[in-house]
Symmetry: C2
């Protein structure tokens, strides 16, 4: 966007896109910090980065959380502006809030499972694609509660020999080191079977004192796996 006149469109070339992303992200965060400094206000920025897994935070985790809380507040307040009927409005708000809560809880459980699987099965060095794979698995488990068994059967069937399984490498992480060359679904499933405490997570938790998840709508088409690499990049240069 300098020598050539701007071409404000998606950059097809992967490398170029990544380079641009990094540069612009840094620039953006610098601007953010400047704005905060110059005007003495709280600012937070969240960028979902396909290239970076670890979040860096600016100005601080707390600041970010506060900003988020404020933002939520305001969205509600804003709605109220056009409120005509008190009760209706309030009811709507309640419904919305409850939906949000459910969603949050649901997402949380997903994360738990993904976490556990990830931790249980994968070494420190293999973040990238593996996380995506585990996400997919986590979703299924969380959603159906039975798909896990199907998956186990299916995978066992298609890879009865543990050696074969080892060489399968389906979803494939690129630079997998020696020991983890065989990070695939089969391995994941085996680990699951051997870890009862993981299975416990699949059961619905005690929800008497929590949100009722009964009527939870089906999983949203959330970009958990798909083009989705891993999430977020909260950065300060």
């Amino acid at each position: 966007m300098t020598r050539k006149k701007a071409a404000l469109a998606y950059i097809a070339n992967d490398a170029a896109r990544k380079a641009t992303f990094k540069k612009r992200k840094n620039g953006l965060m610098k601007k953010v910090s400047e704005l905060s400094t110059l005007c003495g206000i709280e600012v937070g920025a969240i960028v979902y980065s396909p290239y970076q897994a670890e979040p860096e935070v600016w100005p601080s985790m707390l600041g970010a959380r506060r900003a988020i809380a404020r933002f939520k507040n305001m969205s509600e307040m804003d709605q109220s502006k056009r409120m005509v009927n008190q009760q209706e409005f309030i009811r709507q708000r309640i419904v919305k809030a409850e939906e949000q809560l459910k969603k949050q809880l649901r997402e949380n459980r997903e994360r738990e499972i993904v976490q556990v699987m990830y931790r249980a099965l994968v070494g420190e060095g293999l973040q990238g694609l593996t996380i995506v794979d585990l996400n997919d698995l986590g979703w299924m488990l969380d959603n159906t509660g039975k798909e896990i068994e199907e998956r186990i059967k299916k995978l066992k069937k298609s890879a009865p020999s543990s050696e074969q399984a080892a060489s399968a490498e389906p979803q494939a992480d690129k630079a997998a080191p020696e020991n983890h060359a065989a990070l695939n679904d089969f391995v994941a499933v085996e680990a699951v079977e051997n870890q009862p405490w993981y299975m416990d997570l699949l059961k619905p938790r005690n929800e008497g004192d929590a949100v009722n998840l009964d009527r939870i709508d089906p999983m949203p088409s959330y970009p958990y796996g798909n083009p989705t690499p891993s999430w977020s990049d909260f950065y300060f240069p």
Copy 2:
């Protein structure tokens, strides 16, 4: 930061600061949108603006919410880095999430009550101080569930005339200027008595299918009235 070399520090002059804020905020949001377009990623930005009350959203409310969710995700992910014990970590996460949920619900109810009282009692023109007052009242009601009656008694005692009571606008939405010359606690309480639907809000809601609010900690010192301007500015030029 152009003709003079940058002076990256708080701008003392009010007007200049505001001008800079506006310009830079616009520039920032432009960059944000560009980043999103060029790299095909989701981006959200939240700026708490002292100058703007109404939130504008970019790229969209949904996008913002998603980004926020991701961010939360990542903060947890980060924590997990140092996690040693899977189960322990997960339990902690669950606890945290549930606390968050409770807080959210609680805040929501507060807002409901404040809203209702505000709408019921106050014309459009009287925001400022009145809101603060009503907030206080709402808090009390929400907290004790009985203070309302005490308050009613007390106030009735000090103003027993029914005519006075009759002048209290019942459903009272928008602006009813003349009638509201006497916007005080008494009016407020009368309105409450005449509006069963409001009283309903004071009762704990059906919590079988919601978060259990039993163990909710006392109200946080949230800036509901106080120096609180109004929040947030999610902007796209």
